[in-house]
């Protein structure tokens, strides 16, 4: 079962994409985008994992002790916080769309008619 993380990654990506495409509500769409983002976090951390090794923190463990990869953890860490603000930006777009058009249904948002 060593390919299980990749299967979960592909599953989360596919299910998030299905949510975005089949959604009737702009806010629901934004949250499905958050699911797609979380699939990339799982992928990155699963790439850097080494079996039976510790975290890359060397406070109690001596300096040379085996640890998992810190580079992918650094990438994922900043990504998690920054994508929260991007989700906030998309939600403010949805609020403005609701104020202008009165609807949150993406099928009913038409191009501005003059």
């Amino acid at each position: 079962m060593s390919v299980f993380p990749w299967i979960v990654t592909a599953w989360l990506f596919a299910i998030g994409l299905w949510g975005v495409i089949s959604s009737r509500n702009l806010i629901h769409q934004v949250l499905c985008l958050a699911i797609i983002q979380s699939s990339t976090y799982v992928l990155l951390l699963a790439i850097g994992y080494k079996t039976d090794e510790g975290a890359p923190i060397f406070v109690t463990a001596p300096s040379g002790s085996p640890a998992v990869d810190p580079v992918v953890q650094a990438l994922t860490l900043t990504d998690v916080v920054v994508e929260a603000t991007v989700v906030a930006l998309l939600l403010s777009l949805a609020v403005q769309a609701w104020k202008r058009f009165g609807t949150l249904d993406p099928d009913r948002l038409r191009v501005l008619k003059g």
């Binding site: 299980f4 599953w11 989360l12 299910i15 949250l31 699911i35 951390l45 998690v80 609701w98 009913r108």
Partner: protein
């Protein structure tokens, strides 16, 4: 791959489907909060405490808060 990691990966897969399948955004906020907690557990099992801390505070505090504020704003005139 240990049993804990496999169980958490399965739960994360089920949680992702649950967040997408919940159509009402208000309930989806609670589901997203739980999903954030599950992801934090998964990251901890992958020996990544920094990322787990980050995902926990963002997924359980900030995202549902912003979501609930936006939802309360659009509650007035439901189409």
């Amino acid at each position: 791959m240990s049993w804990l990691q496999m169980a958490l990966l399965t739960l994360v897969g089920i949680g992702g489907w649950a967040v997408v399948a919940t159509r009402d955004p208000l309930r989806q906020a609670i589901m997203l909060s739980l999903y954030g907690g599950l992801m934090a557990g998964l990251f901890f099992a992958f020996q990544a405490p920094d990322v787990a801390l980050s995902e926990l505070v963002v997924g359980a505090v900030v995202l549902p808060m912003i979501l609930l504020l936006a939802l309360t704003k659009v509650r007035g005139r439901a189409e």
